[in-house]
Subunit: 335 residues, 3 copies
């Protein structure tokens, strides 16, 4: 009970944090049909800035880290990414009025990772003083890519069975490559590489780090506006998508949290890292995932998966998931 009442206090406090305030503000702005818009060029640039910053700090950390520590969490990230897609395959994609390919694609998007959600979690954790391994942000691709690959492979298997051409092999590398070519993952990996190889500390401290929190607040505004705008798309598809998008982020986060706790007890993975693993699992891809899925599962309807993720999944992960996992970690750390 203590945990629950703590959680509610924390939840209300989080809604007062500017990060979530901007998200909700964006929804109001969109609901009011305001002509206020953040130009697309600015939006793309902000995403780039946030992910290269996360990458740079990760790369700098990895340079000074004992990487064997990262092995188990990375393996768990892969496992969780695959599990998430299988859960969607055997729940959402089996439901009446849900086309199996649409359901599989949606599951793939919910297994993939949102850099913006990750950035928001990192900011909130810093505000609360929760420590984490700086390389933990680099777990992103270890969950993102396997989830997208799994979804595309499952979709291909399904499609082959339908058309009676079973046995046709799905080629994995093009999916991995397409995923790595996405703007979000490219920026993150570029940041990691530059952090590892060059010495970007001065430009990081004078530019990327100080701008991070402010740019994130604007990104949250855009995501709120976008979430509201996509709700109408969601209405066009079966109600099951809305239910899945409500439940799945929290469920996925708890699964990853469980794996994270195992890593905590076996290799000393920090509770902050556990929260990051959970947030990565709870998040659903909003930028890099959709183009890969569109190429990999062309028969699936983008309104289904983009609507579910942007309009419901991301706000749930941000406004409920992050405070929930942070609260859980703080309870466990205190205990």
């Amino acid at each position: 009970m203590d945990f629950l009442s703590d959680f509610f206090i924390r939840f209300v406090a989080k809604l007062q944090s500017p990060t979530l305030g901007f998200l909700i503000g964006g929804m109001f702005i969109a609901a009011f049909n305001s002509r206020l818009q953040i130009p697309d060029a600015i939006y793309k640039f902000i995403v780039f800035m946030l992910l290269i910053k996360v990458g740079l700090s990760g790369g700098i950390a990895i340079r000074n880290a004992n990487l064997t520590e990262m092995l188990l969490p990375a393996a768990f990230a892969v496992v969780v990414g695959i599990i998430i897609v299988f859960i969607g395959r055997y729940t959402l994609a089996k439901l009446p009025n849900v086309k199996p390919l649409d359901g599989i694609a949606t599951a793939g998007l919910f297994g993939a990772v949102s850099g913006s959600t990750l950035a928001a979690a990192l900011t909130l954790m810093e505000t609360e003083g929760i420590q984490y391994e700086a390389w933990a942000a680099a777990l992103y691709p270890f969950m993102d890519i396997p989830a997208l690959v799994t979804a595309i492979v499952l979709a291909s298997i399904y499609a082959s069975k339908q058309s009676g051409t079973a046995g046709k092999r799905v080629r994995i590398w093009p999916i991995v490559k397409d995923s790595l070519q996405g703007a979000a993952l490219s920026a993150l990996l570029l940041g990691i590489a530059l952090g590892l190889i060059t010495k970007p500390e001065s430009v990081y401290e004078s530019f990327y780090n100080p701008l991070f929190r402010g740019l994130l607040s604007i990104l949250m505004l855009v995501m709120g506006m976008e979430a509201w705008a996509r709700i109408s798309e969601l209405r066009k598809v079966a109600q099951w998508y809305a239910l899945y998008a409500l439940v799945a982020p929290l469920l996925h986060g708890f699964i990853a949290f469980g794996f994270g706790v195992i890593a905590h007890y076996t290799t000393g993975f920090s509770y902050g890292g556990v929260v990051i693993l959970a947030v990565i699992a709870a998040s659903s891809s909003d930028i890099s995932g959709p183009p890969t899925l569109r190429a990999g599962i062309p028969a699936a309807n983008p309104s289904a998966y983009v609507g579910s993720s942007t309009a419901v999944g991301t706000p749930i992960a941000l406004a409920l998931g992050i405070p929930l996992y942070m609260g859980l970690a703080q309870s466990l750390m205190g205990g």
Copy 2:
């Protein structure tokens, strides 16, 4: 005489301030047909950043303020906004070669408020150390909306009389709503709401506040370029518009200054606040006003009102109005 010589010294000093230097620099750049351009996405983003910053600081101030202080200045802002439009209705709109609807729309735009001019005034006042109530920037909508509503109502009355359909009611709420939906007012009100409800101090101090002055300098550059580009539009309409645009900003500012002084003696409104009230009155809307007027008075010619405001009214308010009201306030404070 002392005041006048003081004013001239102050005026020359102000032209040396980078804020006005960038404005004049923009005019030179445009006059020289340079290919230098600030991309539109950047311009829109800068306006957003400035207004959300003004809003945030207002909202934070209101959270800790005794709002009854704001009542009289807010009422005066409404009154001045309406007076300005009536002045234009019975001067400019009555002149030969001026179409009444064009004149009324122009008066509406000069009653409405420019967020950029307000931002410039706030910067210059901080430089000079003139104190003001932080909620004073929140007077903006109290003048902006009544002015636009009055203009559209007067235009509608005029049009009904012409077509003999007098008695048709003008609906006020759609005009108010359209005005609130404008990008500038939306950003300002969003900032106020976030400043009131969330605790944005850390992101405000680390991001919005430090970038304010620099972004304003770029905005001034764009406004200078824009002012020069619009002068040709102004030439197409009657010369009376140029005369009105030269005289009106200073006159409107003095009227508001007078009301402000009344508030100073009755409720202790600061002289800095009086300057802000005067600047709000002297400014004419450049971003949010035109779309509302276009929708509300579709028969009016946008070249008339946009040209008058952007090419003459705004530069006059910035380069003459602001130093004038600041100088006047400093004389009165000293006396």
Copy 3:
């Protein structure tokens, strides 16, 4: 030998500097066909920010400087700009399979100056603590404009001879004006003017200067991506362009370095200033030059000159030229 081994150590260290790291990172990103892109509006804005910053600091410096010091370096900048074009005219433009007009235009672009390369050099020099006259950045137009004018005049003479209309005068002022109207030079000169006339120190210190290094890192990323993308264009034209683009930047830089050393011994021009003169000569114009050349030598093929400059000339100047001239200056300063 000492100098050479020093240079190699320095060269490897420079590749670790984030400035060059971002350049090389951009090439990798482009080579990998990533969908990561810096929106064009952001790119243009960054170039504006960097050049106005360089201009402002130059203008502030000139305000407090003894300008007679600048005379000899400025004269040398003009001379080097003209020499570079003549070298190209009598080497590249005479080669088989090279159309003379294409060769002359390419030589003009290599004589013109890249603001981005100059900005990168200033950052690296500050990192290494190499002092220079702040007005040295203002040498830019003294080399840029004469080089473009010379190229267009030589092209016009060649074309007149071909068509037998020799004796037709080429008008110089339109070329100079077109060059000054370019976005890069306009921003630089605007910055110089504002630095000279207004007092922009506060906005410079709070905004333009702190953002410089970070924005430069992003610009380097874009230039790396652009360089890779243009290599295919270069392949379409004769191989001689690639050879010229490899050799010319370093050669031009050494010629300018020599003139700079003369100025050092005669008027006390700093070695830092000598490096800047060399970098200005080594750089080739990427933003402002091409439109002027397209207007001035319409018969020349832009793929030839833009490809040579962007894909080879600029990376060579950045990654080899800058460390080379800095190392040379440091050896001479130490000796």
